[in-house]
């Protein structure tokens, strides 16, 4: 008798397992071509972490989908849960409500978004790591940590030559002879240092406030300071933490990425190309995005 109840239930659960990946679109485990993940090395222990090295090609240890963060930053998604409510100031909340994202609690159809990214405006930092994030390559020189990002083939320099961050984040510039004129940047100004042999901390300011923090329309001001921490756990793993400190828009610093694990890839791994192309975006809007939202668009 029992099995006559359990069997159909199990069959339905099996159906769940079979169909969920399809029903859930891109959610779940995703493998970048040629990449390796922790699931490939189950039960095998990594060697010791090298001293003062975060160089290498890094992919999300738990699968490529980890970096998409469609609903907003991984540690604080825009899902309506009280624990994920950001500590907005009044000015920050007003900026948030003025943004029209295509995901999160304030989502709108893509035809009505004012997200700068779909039009191929720069993601900037830290959004490059907080939405649609993919494989990264980190290079170390005697004066820089350079990070290469897959999306749009962008790169950042974190200076390690001892210079200080710009003192005035609203009118930022390096305090160095012959440096460029004061200006805010999509990618900010960044400096970094080793706090111990296995932990590198970067700090950035001087940001252009037209960029968003994430895909859910969380804003940042020109006063934002970002702290990014890279902890080399062992030979194969790196953990990244990102903290947002923006006193104009948020009443206290908050963590956007919390020890997100990456796995070291083969030195011969080639990071795929992924470009935002305005003409492709325009065609998508014309053929799909606009008509799907009821906006007139000749097909």
């Amino acid at each position: 008798m029992t099995h006559r109840v359990v069997v159909p239930a199990l069959a339905a659960v099996a159906l769940v397992a079979l169909l969920s990946p399809v029903a859930r679109g891109q959610q779940g485990f995703r493998r970048a071509p040629g990449a390796v993940y922790d699931v490939d090395f189950a039960g095998r222990k990594s060697g010791p972490a090298p001293r003062r090295s975060i160089s290498g090609i890094w992919e999300f240890a738990k699968g490529g989908a980890e970096g998409i963060q469609a609903d907003g930053v991984k540690a604080m998604p825009s899902d309506g849960k009280p624990e994920h409510e950001l500590p907005f100031t009044a000015e920050g909340r007003a900026a948030f409500m003025a943004n029209k994202p295509t995901f999160g609690v304030t989502l709108v159809p893509s035809a009505f978004t004012n997200d700068p990214m779909p039009g191929c405006d720069p993601q900037g930092f830290p959004r490059i790591t907080l939405h649609n994030a993919h494989t990264e390559q980190i290079l170390q020189t005697t004066t820089q940590v350079v990070i290469l990002y897959q999306f749009n083939k962008k790169w950042r320099v974190i200076w390690t030559d001892g210079r200080a961050l710009p003192k005035n984040p609203e009118v930022p510039a390096w305090d160095i002879k012959d440096s460029p004129p004061p200006e805010s940047r999509w990618w900010g100004y960044s400096v970094g240092r080793w706090v111990d042999d296995y932990t590198f901390v970067g700090e950035s300011n001087g940001f252009d406030d037209r960029a968003w923090l994430d895909n859910a329309g969380r804003p940042h001001s020109d006063a934002m300071r970002v702290v990014e921490t890279y902890h080399r756990v062992d030979a194969d793993h790196l953990e990244k933490t990102i903290t947002i400190d923006d006193p104009k828009y948020y009443t206290r610093p908050w963590v956007a990425l919390d020890k997100l694990p990456y796995r070291l890839q083969s030195a011969s791994f080639e990071i795929p190309e992924q470009e935002c192309v305005p003409s492709e975006t325009a065609k998508y809007d014309k053929l799909f995005g606009n008509p799907a939202a009821g906006v007139d668009s000749a097909r």
């Binding site: 199990l10 399809v22 490939d40 799909f288 939202a293």
Partner: protein, 141 residues
């Protein structure tokens, strides 16, 4: 007994429905989430591009009228792991597509599955088999 079985089945199907939110590169709000449409048609264009690939195809509706469909997938880097490529379709291919349509009723939707002329099935989802496991490629490192 029948009632108990029905309850168990309903609970399990409920789990199916609640097993996770749909996730795509843009909003789900435009889609009739959970609805499925299967259409067989002739490809007119396969546009391999960001932010979404687009498949244009023609198919007759129930009344015999030709309908011009446009269906999207995720961006190329998100499709390659599942076996999709720029060469997956060509104009003239007759394919059978399982779509999640938009709410508006227009001939628009996102592709969940495509059956190609040679019978190959492409799935637009997280069904990749990890390397080093049964059915998957060997670890490369």
């Amino acid at each position: 007994m029948t009632k108990t079985r029905a309850t168990a089945f309903t609970a399990a199907v409920g789990l199916l429905i609640l097993s996770g939110p749909l996730l795509a590169h843009h909003a789900n709000a435009i889609f009739d989430v959970g609805k499925r449409v299967t259409v067989t048609g002739t490809v007119t264009e396969w546009f391999w591009a960001n932010p979404h690939c687009l498949l244009r195809f023609d198919a007759k509706d129930d009344k015999g009228q030709m309908v011009h469909w446009v269906a999207e997938t995720q961006a190329p880097p998100n499709m390659i792991p599942f076996g999709w490529s720029k060469l997956s379709f060509k104009a003239g291919d007759v394919v059978t597509l399982t779509l999640e349509p938009v709410k508006s009723g227009q001939a628009l939707g996102r592709i969940l599955q495509a059956v190609l002329p040679d019978g190959t099935t492409l799935v637009a989802g997280a069904t990749a088999v990890p390397a080093g496991t049964a059915g998957g490629p060997p670890p490369t490192r």
